[in-house]
Symmetry: D2
Amino acid sequence: MQSGLSWYVYTLKRLLLMKKTTLLINCPDQKGLIATVTNFILEKEGNTIYVEQHVDHALKEFFMRLECEFDSDEKKLARFKESFNTNVAAHHQMHWEMYDTDKKPKMAIFVSKYEHCLYDILGRYASGELHVKIPIIISNHADLKPIADAFNVPFKHIPVTKGNKVEAEREQISVLEEHKIDFIVLARYMQILSSDFVDRYPNKIINIHHSFLPAFPGAKPYHSAYERGVKIIGATSHYVTSDLDEGPIIEQEIVRVSHIHNVQDFILKGRDLEKIVLSRAIKHHIQHKVLVYNNKTVIFS
Amino acid sequence: MQSGLSWYVYTLKRLLLMKKTTLLINCPDQKGLIATVTNFILEKEGNTIYVEQHVDHALKEFFMRLECEFDSDEKKLARFKESFNTNVAAHHQMHWEMYDTDKKPKMAIFVSKYEHCLYDILGRYASGELHVKIPIIISNHADLKPIADAFNVPFKHIPVTKGNKVEAEREQISVLEEHKIDFIVLARYMQILSSDFVDRYPNKIINIHHSFLPAFPGAKPYHSAYERGVKIIGATSHYVTSDLDEGPIIEQEIVRVSHIHNVQDFILKGRDLEKIVLSRAIKHHIQHKVLVYNNKTVIFS
Amino acid sequence: MQSGLSWYVYTLKRLLLMKKTTLLINCPDQKGLIATVTNFILEKEGNTIYVEQHVDHALKEFFMRLECEFDSDEKKLARFKESFNTNVAAHHQMHWEMYDTDKKPKMAIFVSKYEHCLYDILGRYASGELHVKIPIIISNHADLKPIADAFNVPFKHIPVTKGNKVEAEREQISVLEEHKIDFIVLARYMQILSSDFVDRYPNKIINIHHSFLPAFPGAKPYHSAYERGVKIIGATSHYVTSDLDEGPIIEQEIVRVSHIHNVQDFILKGRDLEKIVLSRAIKHHIQHKVLVYNNKTVIFS
Amino acid sequence: MQSGLSWYVYTLKRLLLMKKTTLLINCPDQKGLIATVTNFILEKEGNTIYVEQHVDHALKEFFMRLECEFDSDEKKLARFKESFNTNVAAHHQMHWEMYDTDKKPKMAIFVSKYEHCLYDILGRYASGELHVKIPIIISNHADLKPIADAFNVPFKHIPVTKGNKVEAEREQISVLEEHKIDFIVLARYMQILSSDFVDRYPNKIINIHHSFLPAFPGAKPYHSAYERGVKIIGATSHYVTSDLDEGPIIEQEIVRVSHIHNVQDFILKGRDLEKIVLSRAIKHHIQHKVLVYNNKTVIFS
């Protein structure tokens, strides 16, 4: 039996000195991948705490997420990455990313006039529920500045008109780069981003929108859904690609409605859904649980 | 206090001698409707056991469903209906229907080649779960005859081709009339019914189909949904109108899917959903809990 | 057809001038009860907006909840009540209560040291979600006073010791009477109320506690449930009777747990449950949807 | 890139020639366990297809479930087990079990007079849903023999009286051994098994019983729960230990009830729950997803 004391020393070291990382890998499916990767980590003074895998048998693609601890400083970790790339990833045609688990990613929020998603995100942020930094909120309207102020988050008003779209996006990008933003959340931002903008942040822009069965494409979808008498309304969160509203889906949820609900009830229930679905998508992203492949997502548990 | 004996006599009479009816009413909203109707029933030797109401404030329309018992024979009940029509309904611009609660409606099932919904309905029918008679199953293919035989339900094969559609529908109608069919369930019947056919059975034809967020209009919707990486798939049951798949929705339900499910899993989960949603819609219809107004449904509880 | 104008006048009158009331009735089951009551209301210039009923066939007891509108002032309403009592209730052995729907009942909160339920109730109160007034929070400890202050709700510290229990309850009652309290919520109040106290507020004291399958009677139930490896934890809200924790159950809910949750997770999930269940019970009570009979509740929808 | 052909050869080999095994391990938590085990498997011509882990930080215990494929025959696999025991398990104080994934375990069913669970299990068995063999049903009554006959499963009637309990269990054990039974399901078997019997089948006897919040210990728990007016009823499946109804819980589930349900509804809902919970527990067991430690279960996903 391991002695109690040595276990405590081990635990203490894990908590204080060790570097926690999350590793996301995908590559063509083949034999020995789990052993190869976990063993390489062990050889390099690392320890795999948790592994999850998925194989897409139709695409013959292997996906893995590892939580690891390294008895290392930054320099050693950089050497690990280099070595992993040369000695493991290259041999197996791996696409891989490695994240410092303890480091909070920097998230920008884009808003327009609807406040419900912004309130929800900032409330969770203030309570410590979201492991992120929010250096900046960007909006094409000034309306929501007081909310940003109340939560002490900087707010940048960049008006967008038909004529100034290119300049506006240039200014947005400059603000994002200045704050070293890792990813963007469109919290009911009512402008369409250009392909140029979107291509700078592949799988780094999270959007939320309502979704219905059947779909109602017009301007007032909640009114159409109400007129149609649907029994279910939904919301979808996805990464933004240049193909509008067609990016990889991260999360969806629905809520039942009935004849007793009027169109205003539909809208309120829809807003509650949007908050829930968007915040779940943000959490998946922050925890590096999303792996995008072939315009779809693998969501690790 | 009411004596125990008199209560038992009352209960026995209710169970054996009384005529149970279900009354569905809608009319412009106005004062005193509940009292007016329940009081009229009481005056005519009836008793209201259960009432439910709904007011659509946007349309200013009142909806009510009553379960009543009448100390009456058929003749008296016919007089009640006449009197109700003259003395109550006419004064309040009511649309109303009255059903004999104990009488099993006659339901025809239309099928093609998919058997899952047919199996589900016949299983529930055999176990006594559905308060209906099923005098006939009609199909454009002979494939599912053995299932009908196993459940001792007559099966009529009426082939439908491009050329014989009108004749085929004429034959279907003749079979339906011969069996005095009250309503029709399309249990994955893969032919489109003509407007002429549909108009003969307003709010009497129940259909089931898959439904997705977003919608996938093509030929293989489950494949499209899988390609798209949706996290939710759904099914919708509705009354058939001449506007294809746009009739009043009776019931919808969804099930979550994830990256671990392949397209075959999607299809299997979709079939299970279709069974559940269709059987719920059938039950609502049989129990006279559905009131159609303005191409939408009020579903009483 | 009713003209649009007359409908608007009617709606305006309903909103501005009419007295909205909720009527709860139970009595031995018998014929004509719905008609009798709704008709009497109509005769007295009232209108029944919504009715719900339930019959307990084992106990032969009838239960009804009505939402009514009266074209009346307070004086007329008082006459209605008197007349209803003499002409309807007495004839049918009715137990009945009538509430002014628009009047906010006065609710006192009792707390000790746990703050989660208090925070939840005051948050809902501040957002307007609860149709109540909260004139006073009473506690046997001073710890939660800052929360009361933050929400601008008066806080009364009444210490309870082994020796002063009778005096403490006398002081509590005096405070409750001074504020004309209608009902009391024990938001994790850790003292047992005496029978004398409880008997003053029959079905007017709402309590919340954890509940498990199986039950764990000891001092640290969450620890016991964790040790036992349960897969579900629950919470129960009930009216307090002199039979401790055995009063009529208003609401229960559960949440799934698994081996990945430690005892701290159990406690946190249990607290979230307690908040949800207690707030649902409070809402049912405020909306006069709870009818207690035979130590059980009928909860109207 | 891996060529398409080589991938198909690999897949074909996996499906046809490879030995699939499931490995369950628990041991004191320490560094490198995942790598050590998966690497050892790889060295021995095995491949780890899927791994799941759990660490109980309070008990400092590590749990792992692996699905592996071996390019081996029975003889080679036996050598692997020996080598794993000597070279891995012994060094880490591992408790481990290895199962042939494709081999159907042999399950005996014990029943008395209630048929609902038996019907449910045999229905799932007949449809191929359960990866087991059922060589024998044992009952202390003859009542359910026709059901066993209908599903072509042998049925052994072993009466149990106050006086013959020891002999009856001896006969039961003899039947179980004759059929090389791997585990036992008590599908509402109404006799208490002796400690002697239970100790022969540690974590191999699965039981089902109702469970309530609060608990109702008497003879008619559904009646008690109904009298108490509970809003939730539950069921629990667990391994049988000599401490009656106190063995490790495998699965629990609940269903909501309300005042509209009578005691018969409670019982019917309870039976449906028992079926669902028991069948889930059986599936977890069959798939080797349950690891018992410290009288609790880890249920892998």
